[in-house]
């Protein structure tokens, strides 16, 4: 099928090698274990496999079927046609890491442009070529801060309103390092005073404080005081941001953040049941040499033409080996390309429009829902971007079951991660949602309250 050999060619090749049959090439494989019988379904032709995959996909309900108000780390945005048309070019997706710059200028320049866009978006000095996703970029931020202090500062403070899955990932990543304490997100944190509580925990043994912006509840929090308090102790601050929000909001760089990371999925990447997404990693120039992951730099070729190459590779795992601080070697090349095309196509005005649409529709939805009897907007005093928390009259999973019957995908049930937030739903609204969709959602919520 994908092996082109004719029987005659096989014979000619074996003759050149000097063996009688293909099996003879496997003498070094222990005979006892050689050529196992595999219990795998009989092969399907392309036509059959296309039908089978179509059938499997149809066993799902997608956001094409549902009106979706689900976010919590993955967002259903409109992806312009131009993004996927370009991603399908075989010259992009069937190439590998640009080790040989003379034949990889396309990938290299695209990554260089990606780095430029991410610096501009976040207001930070430098961006790398990307990480696996927002969670791993956040974990690498903690890891980088730990190594900036050469392992001497043992405390990593993380806000309780950082995405719970990201916090889990930080703990997984740091478990190999001795005596590291990942803390700050204890369950006694009150959400009215959480920033101050975090500030109180900063000391001169703290390597980094990680906060989310907007936070996991969608709230826009002013971290100015926290950044100042951290810097007074020499502690670094890492922002976990949502890229769409930065179309409207002051970027992490404006708060003097030391590291800014996030998931680039909202920038033209499909939901795809959680991956592949895009880890964005940006920092200040002075931390460049501790930054894990690939970097593309501009240079010239032997005729003086502008050219791009992978640079500062001496930081990386294949050169520093056991002395390197991270083992990451690939980036999320194709996803970084998607984000680069998305931002190029939307441009200054389109990107701002998307951010504003999300903001306006979310606020309309919040107003309408909180005017219903039994529903109440939580954290009323704090501004929010395109996600907000609603206190509901019934358990969220009950409400969501009802909404499913209306082909509405309800919000995230916060009681899964925050026991005290029983009957609290995290609702996300993107530009894809129309006023009619919101009105339908509101009606269904009203109905379920009286059920």
């Amino acid at each position: 099928m994908f092996t082109p050999h004719t029987p005659q060619e096989i014979n000619e090749m074996l003759k050149v090698i000097g063996v009688d049959k293909i099996e003879d090439l496997f003498q070094s494989v222990p005979e006892k274990y050689r050529f196992p019988k595999l219990d795998i379904a009989a092969p399907l032709s392309e036509m059959e496999v296309a039908a089978e995959l179509g059938e499997i996909a149809s066993a799902n309900a997608s956001t094409d079927d549902f009106i979706s108000f689900l976010g919590a780390g993955a967002y259903d945005h409109y992806i312009p046609a131009v993004v996927d048309m370009l991603l399908r070019r075989g010259e992009f997706y069937t190439a590998y890491t640009p080790y040989q710059p003379e034949v990889s200028q396309g990938t290299l320049q695209a990554i260089f442009e990606f780095q430029s866009l991410m610096s501009e978006l976040t207001g930070m000095d430098v961006s790398n070529a990307s990480h696996y996703d927002g969670a791993t970029a956040t974990a690498e931020a903690a890891n980088m801060a730990f190594h900036i202090f050469r392992g001497k500062r043992k405390k990593i403070l993380v806000s309780r309103t950082v995405n719970p899955q990201y916090r889990e990932t930080i703990r997984t990543y740091m478990q190999g390092q001795e005596n590291v304490q990942v803390t700050g997100d204890e369950s006694d944190t009150s959400f009215d005073n959480d920033t101050q509580q975090l500030i109180d925990k900063i000391d001169n043994n703290t390597a980094v404080v990680l906060v989310q912006y907007p936070d996991f509840f969608g709230r826009i929090i002013d971290y100015t005081k926290l950044v100042n308090a951290a810097h007074e102790q020499g502690t670094l601050v890492a922002f976990v941001f949502n890229p769409t929000a930065l179309g409207l909001l002051k970027p992490p760089g404006a708060f003097d953040a030391d590291i800014a990371v996030g998931d680039g999925q909202p920038l033209g990447i499909p939901l795809s049941f959680g991956g592949p997404y895009l880890g964005i990693f940006t920092t200040k120039e002075k931390h460049l040499r501790k930054l894990a992951g690939r970097l593309v730099g501009e240079t010239v070729d032997d005729s003086g033409n502008r050219a791009y190459v992978l640079t500062l590779t001496a930081r990386e795992q294949h050169i520093r080996r056991e002395k390197s601080t991270s083992n990451i070697c690939t980036n999320q090349g194709l996803m970084a390309l998607a984000a680069t095309i998305y931002l190029s196509a939307l441009g200054k005005s389109g990107f701002k429009q998307v951010a504003n649409l999300c903001y306006q529709k979310a606020h309309y939805a919040a107003d309408q829902i909180s005017s219903l009897e039994g529903y109440e907007l939580a954290f009323k005093e704090t501004p929010f971007f395109h996600e907000f928390v609603i206190k509901t009259p019934k358990p969220v999973n009950q409400i969501n079951l009802h909404l499913q019957n209306h082909w509405i995908l309800g919000g995230y049930d916060l009681s899964q991660d925050y026991p005290e937030l029983e009957n609290h739903m995290l609702i996300a609204v993107t530009e894809k949602i129309s006023k009619d969709d919101i009105d339908e959602f509101v009606m269904a919520l009203e109905e379920v309250a009286h059920d």
Binding site: G73, T172, E178, V309
Partner: protein
Amino acid sequence: MTELTIYELSQSGRTGVQFPEPDVPLSPLPEAFEREGINLPELSEQDVIRHFTKLSQRNYAIDTGFYPLGSCTMKYNPKINEVVSRLPGFANTHPLQPIVSVQGNLYLMYQLQEWLQEISGFHRVCLTPAAGAHGEFVGALIIKKYHQVNRDPKRVKILIPDSAHGTNPATSSMSGFKVIPLPSDERGNVDIEALKAECDDTLAGLMLTNPNTLGLFEENVVEVIQLVHDAGGLVYGDGANLNALLGILRPGDVGFDIMHFNLHKTFSTPHGGGGPGSGPVGVSQALAEFLPSPIVTIIEEGDEELPPFFGFYYPKHTIGRMKAFYGHFGVHVRAYTYIAMHGPEGLRDIGEKAVLNANYLMTKVMKDYHLPYNRSCMHEFVVEGSWADIPNVHALDISKRLMDYGFHPPTNYFPLIVHEALMIEPTETESKQTLDAFAKALAAIAKEAREDPTKLTGAPFTTPIGRCDEVKAARDLVLCCYIPEE
């Protein structure tokens, strides 16, 4: 020839994609947080298409030619994979939807886990790791946690052969282990005496790449694993080179405890210009409860009328969560499709043809290039890219000259144990004609090296740009386009 950057192409006031005006009453913006402006480029849709199309044409790719990059398994990527992974039922599902609404996704992941288990001989597979290095990290953390749970904290030492994959040492230190390199013997196998000397009660494990980066099967694999097990250690298999073993040998059968798969290599999901990859991890029964969470499982068995109901499972001693959600699902769909199209005989055909192609090419190439370990290879082989009588010509020059002949170069300068290494992996999807043309080019280059070495040292001459000044790149550090002030 230079292609302008998106910022150089930008014209103030131009728009690519427009969105509708808000259809809801407007709310005031949060003034204190509003940003002043964001300087994104301003391009028309056609500008964007032309720019990125031109960039794509400045790339070499599998779809444009032979890509024998050793240890990267640059095989053909079937196009049906791209079609099915974009089906709305897959691409537009949210990871936090109620599981009843994503039974198709969960079935596919479950079946892929089962197939990977069957292919590799492992007891359980977890699909979440995002790449090979990420899977390796899982393996090292499992070794760490296993000894912790067994109250055996003095095991701090990880052995890594000098023919292992390049990421292994960094992975071990990231997991808090002490790295001990192991030498190879004259046949390219692990030096057994050196291994025995390290087998004590501080041994946590061994990371073994098999076939190793010389493309050689570890002839003493059973003995090596037994020695480590007898000393109380675990053996991690780096599955980067699994392509050579498909239908040939199941690593779990010979005693490996843990292994990662590279779906983007062995199972032909595209490399994407350096990602997304996918690095599922398989383990033996004794380690099943250490896998990262979550794992897809059957929650309710099916019967004649109803299919089984799938959901998630959280292993008891789990090392934790490796990333958000469940891994690179879009890549899982492609790997599933690839395996479904092959079946048992098709998988064995991949392993056999990959090894046939490599041995055929090796036999042809070794006429002009020194082969330091002369025995049957598996999916790849390593030759020296230099000659004692032409000291000014290096592996890098041969690589660059290959570009002028229309080929992507092999991996160079790896593995480190071969002088001026050229590591060549043809893969099973290449025809005899392509291999012959490549061998012919390498022979012609060997001739040029003697007759006119400047053809190598000045190469490439036919690519969009010539050799780059990498020192300047690292010294001047320009990591961003020039962005004009507003």
